[in-house]
């Protein structure tokens, strides 16, 4: 017995050795490669058969489902090619585990592969998108690539069982080291690519996936060439840009060369003020006496321009000192420079009696322009009833010559001189005597303003009061009347200057004497600045103006 068993074993061994020498054996172990479902409805399993052992070998696939018992064999070995098993829709279940094995059988034996656990939900991988078309859309602003494609034909996108999402990648053929640019397309089946390089060839590939499945393989490459014409259009623009830049440069250069001219054109210099007679250079030089002398210029106040003017002085003295020669209208002439002061000057009031009055007042007339003035004396109404008519001391021709006569008011001779020196204005002093037996002797002080616009008439003074100089207002247009506002102290009499409107009309005389309005010739309009002026008669006998105002 033992011998038979031993003999059989030895025989088998010999046989296998012999078979090996010949080269046949049972099949090798097949290996299941993978199973794939392209659309979540069917799936295919593939295996590697392994060594067939030199004999014709058949392979069988058996599977087991988790929810049912029994071993089933593959329903279709041919549909997917050799060494594959295709599970159609009726044999495919999802969310069910398959336990799949492959058995290789040949005449010498069979070999079983390792099992493979498969759930369809894990093995889904679609095919690549199909019918990829790439076209160049040439628009004015920006040419672009329009890529269109279709889902793989077996995928059912209408029921909602699967949802496809796509991915695209582009590469330029000319750029050797270039990399693929990837774009996600979501669920859309077309995509537009901008920023193209003209004249280049573009390569496009596509892939897709189903919900959470694996990505498909990349589709076959589609080549597209972008035409060159875009470059030509751009070159024209480049030429235009260069040309205009050149012109701009030229213009800038020209402007830079003619800087001053351009500046003069665009920003004309502001003209400075031109004051006739005012020399700005002299002002700048800063020498005071020159300035003063220049301020007191020739043309102002407008009078006869020549210096050689006869100036008649009317001297005012104290009543006792009235000399008969004065009655003759003796006048002193003096040249007085034109000055700019147009205030009235009063005589000093040193508690002396100043005779005021006179039958005549000085009338001033105006001529055209301001160059000439003339005065006329006029009769004054005499306050004293007893007095004899008094003839005017001075009489000027009615026809006003161009020459003007100065009258200066002076209490003393030296005062007169000082007045003449310092004040430089014309004044008319009318001296008249009254034969009043009272103290109201006439002492005429008439001060006329510089411009001979109006006149000042001293009406009367009362010793008790002091000097009162009244300026009759001829009319509103008379400008240079001054009214005494107050006699401040022994030495100061403050005059009030008033502006007088243009029309010379009636006048009004102050005082308690009968008043007679002195008719005046129509006066020329002057602008005056109202100012409060005063005259200060200093201790040294000088009369100094307190305020100065300009007329004109």
């Amino acid at each position: 017995m033992w011998g038979e068993v031993g003999g059989a074993l030895v025989l088998l061994l010999l046989l296998s050795e012999v078979l090996d020498c010949i080269g046949i054996s049972p099949p090798g172990k097949p290996v299941l490669i993978n199973c794939r479902s392209p659309e979540k409805e069917t799936f295919t399993c593939r295996w590697d058969p392994g060594f067939d052992g030199g004999l014709p070998t058949t392979h069988h696939l058996y599977y087991q489902k988790e929810d049912s018992d029994g071993m089933y064999e593959c329903p279709d070995y041919q549909a997917a090619g050799s060494n594959s098993c295709f599970f159609n829709k009726s044999h495919t279940s999802i969310w069910v585990n398959y336990n799949i094995t492959v058995v290789a059988i040949n005449s010498l034996g069979s070999t079983v592969s390792d099992p493979l656990e498969v759930d369809v939900m894990y093995i889904v991988q679609p095919n690549a998108p199909e019918n990829v078309t790439v076209s160049v859309v040439e628009t004015e602003e920006s040419p672009h690539l329009l890529v269109k494609w279709e889902p793989p034909h077996e995928a059912d996108t209408r029921s909602g069982w699967i949802t496809l999402t796509y991915q695209l990648r582009v590469k330029r053929q000319n750029k050797k080291e270039g990399e693929w640019e990837e774009y996600a397309s979501g669920k859309q089946t077309q995509l537009i690519i901008y920023s193209l390089h003209p004249g280049d060839v573009y390569m496009v590939q596509l892939r897709c996936k189903l919900d959470h499945s694996l990505w498909s393989e990349w589709s076959t490459t589609t080549h597209t060439e972008v035409p060159d014409y875009i470059l030509k259009e751009r070159s024209i623009w480049i030429v235009i840009t260069v040309f205009s830049a050149f012109i701009l440069l030229l213009v800038t250069f020209t402007l830079a060369m003619k800087r001053k001219y351009v500046k003069h054109c665009l920003l004309p210099p502001v003209p400075g003020p031109k004051i006739s007679g005012l020399d700005t250079q002299l002002l700048k030089s800063g020498r005071s006496e020159d300035i003063l002398s220049s301020l007191i210029n020739q043309g102002f106040p407008p009078t006869i321009a020549t210096k050689d003017q006869q100036v008649d002085y009317l001297l005012v003295f104290d009543s006792e000192q009235v000399t008969p020669d004065l009655q003759n209208g003796q006048t002193r002439t003096k040249n007085i420079d034109h000055g700019r002061y147009d205030h009235s000057l009063l005589m000093e009031a040193n508690n002396k009696e100043v005779k005021v009055g006179g039958r005549e007042t000085v009338e001033q007339g105006y001529s055209e322009g301001l160059e000439s003035t003339f005065w006329k004396t006029k009769s004054l109404s005499h306050p004293c009833p007893q007095k004899k008519p008094f003839n005017n001391v001075t009489e000027m021709p009615k026809q006003a010559p161009v020459s003007s006569k100065y009258r200066s008011l002076s209490h003393h001779k030296d005062l007169l001189d000082s007045l003449a020196r310092h004040l430089d204005y014309r004044e008319t002093v009318v001296k008249s005597q009254s034969n009043c037996d009272d103290k109201h002797l006439s002492s005429q002080n008439i001060v006329t303003p510089l411009k001979a616009i109006g006149y000042v008439e001293v009406q009367r003074w009362k010793k008790s009061i002091g000097l009162q100089v009244l300026v009759p207002k001829m009319d509103k247009s008379q400008e240079d009347y001054s009214t005494v506002s107050v006699v401040e102290n022994e030495n100061v009499v403050l005059l009030k200057r008033e502006t007088v409107p243009l029309n010379c009309t009636s006048c009004k005389l102050r005082g308690n004497q009968s008043e007679k309005c002195l008719q005046q010739k129509p006066c020329k309009p002057h602008m005056t600045v109202p100012a409060k002026e005063g005259v200060y008669i200093g201790s040294n006998g000088y009369v100094e103006p307190v305020t100065i105002s300009h007329t004109l």
Binding site: W95, R158, W161, D211, H212
Partner: protein
């Protein structure tokens, strides 16, 4: 007669408007729900990958079979034809039942995750918490959806979870954790598929959403 037809026309127009408005609202809700379920499944897939990276060698053998998942008692469609034959009410009911069935297991998993014998258990723990958030949000959205769909869609199957804990030793804990996660992965895929079918059906006017 003419007046009556005019009146009916007006009524029809108003009705159409209401229906279309209603439909638009529904499709919008469906879109949002399916987006959430998609995210839910992605999270569970990444969790499973993390767990797979560190799996004991004998784990595959020791792992319970998928039919041991506690939700396997729920009858769900097994292929496309079956799924397309299921009514919308039933589909939504299935989705909600599955979602509800995982509330308790997720609680268990989140409590067990920090002490899991796994190198990246912190990551896993945070992902589980994220899963819970998405699950809750999806559940709320589906509740609103069924209110719009009508009373017949509000039936939910109750699936009890009996697993008390994961085990005593490290290996069994890890294996049971992995098993539960694989069950959840499958169920989240089911929910996602059902909602996407529903979404496509709700937007008949816009086939591109399918």
């Amino acid at each position: 007669m003419a007046r009556r037809s005019q009146g009916t026309k007006l009524h029809l127009a108003v009705l159409c408007l209401v229906v279309s408005c209603h439909a638009i609202g529904l499709s919008d809700l469906m879109e949002r729900a399916s987006q959430r379920s998609d995210k839910l499944h992605s999270l569970s897939t990444s969790l499973n990958k993390d767990l797979d990276s560190h799996f004991p060698p004998m784990g595959r053998v020791m792992m319970p079979r998928p039919s041991m998942c506690h939700t396997s008692s729920l009858q769900t469609p097994k292929d496309k034809e079956q799924a397309l034959r299921v009514s919308e009410n039933e589909l939504i009911s299935l989705a909600r039942s599955l979602l509800l069935a995982w509330n308790d297991p997720l609680l268990l998993l989140s409590s067990e995750a920090p002490t899991l014998p796994h190198p990246s258990n912190g990551d896993i723990s945070s992902k589980i918490r994220e899963l819970q958030d998405y699950s809750k949000s999806l559940g709320d959205g589906l509740d609103i959806l069924v209110n719009k769909m009508g009373p017949s869609s509000q039936y939910i199957s109750s699936i009890p979870f009996k697993g008390g804990d994961l085990g005593n030793d490290k290996t069994s804990r890890l294996i049971n954790f992995h098993f539960l996660m694989s069950c959840f992965r499958r169920d989240s895929h089911k929910i996602d598929s059902f909602l996407k079918v529903l979404r496509c059906r709700a937007t008949k006017m816009r086939p591109e959403t399918c």
